[in-house]
Structure formats: structure tokens, C-alpha cells
């Protein structure tokens, strides 16, 4: 499995407890939007980000948090934080 595929799998596991739209979750793609597609509320999006920090051993700053709207943006931010570590 490629790094990206593995990372997407990890991300899917992280968002699972917070999603309200099962169909969008099962069809998770790079352009899946956390709020509009998965129906995660803004409070639970904070928990998603905190779980991402723990899983990948990175720290997400406020600017990155604001950009973390869909799967692709999340993967990009995780990769850049890992690279900067």
C-alpha cells in the first residue's frame, strides 16, 4: 500500500466516530468535504484534528486548522507537517 493510501486509511479511521453521513463516508475520496459531505460539526472537527495530531505525531496550528476542510487538504497538511518535523 502506498503512503498516501495508508494515510487515507488512517484518516478514515480517525473521522469514523464523528461522521453523520454513512454513504459519503463509505465513498470517501480526496475531495470529500468534512463538514458538507461527512456532516461533521465544527466542534467534532476539532476532535478530528486532535486525533490527527496524536496519530501522526505532528502539531496543527490555527492557519492549518482553517484550511483543513476536505480529505485532500488534510493529507497535504499532514504531509507538510511530517516533512517539517
Amino acid at each position: 500500500m502506498s503512503d498516501t493510501a495508508q494515510m487515507m486509511k488512517d484518516l478514515k479511521e480517525i473521522v469514523k466516530p464523528y461522521i453523520q453521513n454513512q454513504e459519503a463516508f463509505e465513498n470517501l475520496k480526496e475531495d470529500t468535504d468534512f463538514i458538507n459531505d461527512l456532516k461533521i460539526n465544527s466542534a467534532n472537527l476539532v476532535d478530528v484534528v486532535l486525533d490527527i495530531e496524536d496519530k501522526f505525531d505532528i502539531e496543527i496550528d490555527n492557519d492549518s486548522m482553517d484550511k483543513m476542510l476536505n480529505v485532500k487538504a488534510a493529507l497535504d497538511i499532514i504531509n507538510s507537517k511530517i516533512a517539517a518535523r
Binding site: 466542534a43 467534532n44 486548522m65
Partner: protein, 145 residues
Amino acid sequence: MTSQEIISKLPYQYPFLFVDEITSVDENAVSGSYRYEASLPFYAGHFKNNPITPGVILTETMAQIGLVALGIYIASTKQIALAEVKIALTSSAMDFFKPVYPGEKVTVNSQKEYFRFNKLKCKVEMFNEQEELVCRGTIAGMMNI
């Protein structure tokens, strides 16, 4: 910040203010108390001829002391204009152990789990005057700061 200063910043008033006193507060924890006067209007309906404090009111009391009062204190330490502070309840998970009757005084202790990206999440416990556990749970809210 004194107890009175924090209470004056709370965005509630009678009959929906459930904080009499903040007894201790720092960036990680808050304690406070409230006495449910028998004249509070909801006792007329909960229950018919059998007044008991509703669980939602106990939860609200825990949120006002454990989350909102703590949030106001945290905002003050970050030099945030307190008139601007607004907070919305986003989740609560509560277990109840003892009923609270009209006239009883309760004490609430709250411990911060985290405050990140404007979300404040706390573990909160409520005790009665016999120091028995009334309810315990987790409450979270988003602040617009």
C-alpha cells in the same frame, strides 16, 4: 478575576442563571455552587405535584459553572474582550446518580480536558450538600474568541 466579576460576565439571568458563587478558578479548573430555590418556575411542571430538578437543568448548571465560567476566565487571561465572548454548547454526556430537590445546594467541580481551536472540553462533577455525587460527565462548547 473575582467570583462576582465572572458571574457578571455570564450571559444569563433569572430564571436561567444557575451560578451563585465561583469558589475557585485557574486556567485548568473551576469550582462553584448554586442553590435551587423552591420558587424556580420549572418545579411547577417537573413533575406534577412532585418537584424534582430536571436533568437538563443539572446539566445546564454544570455547563454554566464548569464550561462558561471557566471559558470567561480563560478568555480574560488571554486579554480577550469579554463583551465579545460567546459560547455554544456542542456536546454533553452525563450520568446521573442522585435526585436534587427544591432548596438543595449543589457544588460543581470542572477539570479542563483541552482548550484548542476555540473548543473547550471539560470533565465535570456535581455534588450535593451531603457530598454525594449527583452527576458526572463531559461537556464541550465552542467559543467565538
